[in-house]
Symmetry: C2
Subunit: 340 residues, 2 copies
Amino acid sequence: MIPVIDGLQYAKWSEKIFRQMRTGRVDAVHVTITYHETFRETVQVIEQWNRWFERFPNLIFHGRTAADVQIARDTERTAIFFGSQNPSCIEDDIGLVEVLHTLGLRFMQLTYNNQSLLASGCYETVDSGLTRMGRAVVAEMNRVGLVVDMSHSGERSTFDAIEHSTRPIAITHANLHSWYPVLRNKSDALLRALGESGGFLGLSIYPHHLRNGSACTLQDWCDMVARAMDLVGPEQVGIGTDLCQDQPDSIVEWMRTGRWTKAIDYGEGHADAAGFPAMPHWFNDNCDFENLRAGLKAAGLEQTVIDGVMGGNWLRFFAISFGTAQTDQTKECRVVALST
Amino acid sequence: MIPVIDGLQYAKWSEKIFRQMRTGRVDAVHVTITYHETFRETVQVIEQWNRWFERFPNLIFHGRTAADVQIARDTERTAIFFGSQNPSCIEDDIGLVEVLHTLGLRFMQLTYNNQSLLASGCYETVDSGLTRMGRAVVAEMNRVGLVVDMSHSGERSTFDAIEHSTRPIAITHANLHSWYPVLRNKSDALLRALGESGGFLGLSIYPHHLRNGSACTLQDWCDMVARAMDLVGPEQVGIGTDLCQDQPDSIVEWMRTGRWTKAIDYGEGHADAAGFPAMPHWFNDNCDFENLRAGLKAAGLEQTVIDGVMGGNWLRFFAISFGTAQTDQTKECRVVALST
């Protein structure tokens, strides 16, 4: 059976949510463990995850390879894959790329809205592309098997990453700018280049990325999924819900302002709606993945295509992405060939 | 063929030394990566090791399990296993035990000469045994598969560790107090208790632990090895040379004083001989392991016993020690059963 995989969540984790993942039969989730945290602070979050893994071994475990998704399915648990939405966790130290990969990090955004040491964020006025350190770090990420994620990056930086990276990159959670024109959504030209390079797009259900926001219909979203497959490639599109379940509004403030400003920055929101937006009624939490499957079916997609979007496509991407540059093509692919 | 394993070295690592490991056919070495370093500083040392692994892949690689020793032998390389001589690297944070184990740490001393947060060092006037945090950390080390090393600890603390630890502990580098009575060498009573608990003793060639220091004869040392086997158990003794090759004397000062005093502390040395002592002529570097084998043969030990001391015994200890409490008894032992 093809697995169900969510390409991005950042919830206020709890036993309730881990149980909902089982209810929704989610086999793997890429979870954000850090935004603006330093390396040491990121390690503290990993320590917290280790306690959850120790405390809830029948619900979740730490996912490291594509093969772990199959283990999750076989043992009826959810494999948790770590990611960072900003490179703060590597500070100015390229050696931390391998260290964090060893600790389980599998995705890292080069930027989160702002300029970073590596690239430009999508909210900067000037997008100067990959920096000197950015090129060095992308090469190191390629070497160890840490996926370059450009979800919150500027367009030129993302084109640069596609060109410079020797392995496919991902945009784990964003939608089509031509469907809903906000800074976080991606242009058709960029998505075509992403697809041609073997890259991957996870489609978001975060209301600020949706046409009509929280009122977006399931049908409208599913029609966009079909269009995304035309642009990127039918096997290079999956889900990246960006679910931020149960988080207090203080967290979205931390996500937006970290320690970089003393002023308020509303990011994707605005002064009249500064907190987390309400999710669409058809996707409230991890129990609702079957709603997405039903919507894709109603949109007329074939069963194999739906299976791919629900997780099969992400699984193939995991298989070529998480090992060292040498091992991926042999070991991991074999594992996946056996398990799908 | 039975492997050659050294249970402790802290050299000024270089390509020269890695090549000497190959000349001496050393299949695995437990290397000290940290003394007084904080967690972040320890990670920087790991980053340095990662660069050596990347630069010299035909000479060394990062060892994590007993099975890696066999891989080292098969591929004519040396497996490097990480250890800490002090618990500074976990700071006051028990969560760092698992984090450092994930990064490859396989041995950690609870103390280095002084009182630590966990236990008392062998140079303290009062040895108060395992602390509250010490008991908690030993349990966590047992859980994840990080070996409790009491080489530099006080006697009562070591008895406490033997009693409290649910898995065998190690004294990776020390000798018999009854052979040469210095604070770093261990009493017969302690070594008998170590043996009865399934623990392990690595015998040192560091001159401050040797009768007649640098002038100690190979025969005298080998006779002590035989005596140690009587005390601890014939399959629970190995080598822990404590080789500090090519280190400048500033390093022994760091080892002894770290940041804990502004005064000079001579540790095992004294004011007239503050630097590193000269090694005995029969063990200068990693090329000289065959001298030890010849000495043990001349001392009348049987071939199988010699093979055990040279590495077979350490290999069995590695096999039961480095995995999580649940997996060790199954997976690792099977691997070793296949490979020896």
